[in-house]
Amino acid sequence: MFGFSRPQLIAFLAMVALIVICPFILYPVFLMRVLTTALFACAFNLMIGYVGLLSFGQAAFYGMGAYVSAWTIKNWHVDASIAIALGGLTGGVLGLALGYLAIRRSGIYFAMITLALAQMVYFFCLEAPFTGGEDGIQQVPRGFLFGFIDLSKDMTMYWLVAAVFLGGFLLIHRIIHSPFGQVLKGIRENEPRTTSLGYRTDDYKLIAFVLSCTLAGVAGGTKALVFGIATLTDVNSSTSGEIVLTTLLGGLGTVFGPAVGAVVITTMENYLAQMGAWVTVIQGAIFMFCVLSFRRGILGEIGNLLKIKL
């Protein structure tokens, strides 16, 4: 199913089981935070792990998705599904515009161009009247799904977030294992050779970029509904940096890696918050430990150990 290998299918079923069981044990709002970050990281992984494009500007799409979802549901009272879809659409359209410029270069130049463009988006959000400047968009209602499911209960919202995450996850998995995905991997391994085989690599890269940005927008929009806010933190360059770290930590180019990375990072942020000034020190130490001891990321190492592809 969906081109899962046997170990991947087992891992996938385990993940679904965890998503179903966890809200009864752990706090659902925290889990929703994990799931939205995981979707964002998975979308980013589609680009870096499978096309080899390192973007430092993903927060622009995530944050704009959050702003548009929050704004439309607050001011136009649209359905939650439409608000999230609009968030995704915003991410996609913005991705098309910025990606069209950025994919013309590769490597460090690509990273710098995405960073610069994302800073422009940040500045736009800081100044534009509809974003509320540094106060952000506040008191966003969660609204209704399909007009009749009230999302104000945390558990109801959780199932929506879980569905959005699983949908996004399966979509990414499907993309990776399609012929289109094979070409993407070809580009990652050797772009000139892929060109010589007759593929227009720029088009492929742009499509992958737009897909990734759309999903980032969906993740941002979902997050805005969960917490009822969209603020400058979402479009800030530090968010872009964090998502790079999340994906690295989980395992670049593994299907499940980014989700694991999101679990680790969000848990650290949440449960270390009580430690006060030590949070950043502990986070730094854990990062150094991970980077030094498992270079392929957590899942990359496990997969390597068990000789399977996760």
Binding site: Y27, G136, F227, N270, V279
Partner: protein, 407 residues
Amino acid sequence: MTISRRTLLASATAAGAAPLARARAQTPTIKIGVLNDLSGPYINTTGVNSVVCAKQAVEEFAAQKGLNVEVISADHQNKPDLAVSIARQWFDNDGVDVLLDVPSSGVALALQPVVREKNKVYLNISAASSALTGEQCSPNFVHWIFDTYMLSRSTGGAMVMDGGDTWYFITADYAFGRQLEADTTAVIQKAGGKVLGSARYPFPGTTDFAPYLAQARASGAIVLGLANAGADTINVIKQAAQTGLIEKMEPAAMLMFIDDVHAVGLAVAQGLNLTESFYWDMNEGTRAFTKRVLPKLPKNYPNSVHAGCYSATLHYLKAVADMGAAAAKKDGVAAVERMKAKPVEDDAFGTSKIRADGRNMVPAYLFEVKKPSDSKGPWDYYHLRATTRGEEAYRPLADGHCPFIKA
């Protein structure tokens, strides 16, 4: 007003029913959650000192009244979504009743609906946004020591009265900076002063303020208004000192605390005007409070935020003692109503009243930073220049457009 009257009645009956000699074991534990910045830019302004001062209030008051109180803290890292996530967890799982401190306006505003939804108490000390008691107000909320309106009113109005009647602004070009400039300009003009011009610099990322300082010098204004905050304010002051502008103009910082002055040093900060609502060496009460709390503070003397955490915790506990811990835990609105019904009284701020929209009407003091030669001891930094009474310092109730006031 139906809701508030009903809750007031309910709380009054609850308080009346509570027997005076409660068995300590039966009293439920009141939990106070200090949610602030323990690792970022506001670490000194809020940070661990806020936690210590909240605990100080608990020590002084809770034991003698037989209340069980626990103070916990967390770092929100200035991320609104992290803050919301922690607060929800605190309310739903950890039984936290009060959210205290919470710097950074974006974060502070994000928590407002959460506290209201869970019917808890939200005592904000260190966020500046006046929207907290305006359009985004809440019956579960009290804003303790300052807001943007009061800062512009005190620094702008009181300085004009004191002879600083021509101004030039250096403004951070984003909503907060422009708002502060506009508010202060209105106050200055109303007081009979004049604004000769303003220079807006791109935010964030500007570090060289020399061209803006040159424009300010050329304007011939008496006062140099700094409509910005944090590191930017400090950078402008440092560069103004280096270029000798300090001798020609009187700088006025719109948002600055005593720990910032300490960080810059008197040699640079001398002559600077700023507004705070607490200074440790103000009177008998403030000195007594500082003496009690100082040995426990890991760094710095208390600033107005830290004293505010003490004062707010103390006042909340007084309300709890009146109405009984169980009733206070059950209904956040009732607890806040009780706080509003009682005058606030403590060593740090003297006496004040909390208005219906949740605004604590503490006076605003305009301070001038002393010259190094005038400073006699450690942290002897401020010289009081003017006082604005609480009733004049804050935005009038009707102008706030707080939705639940009309209801």
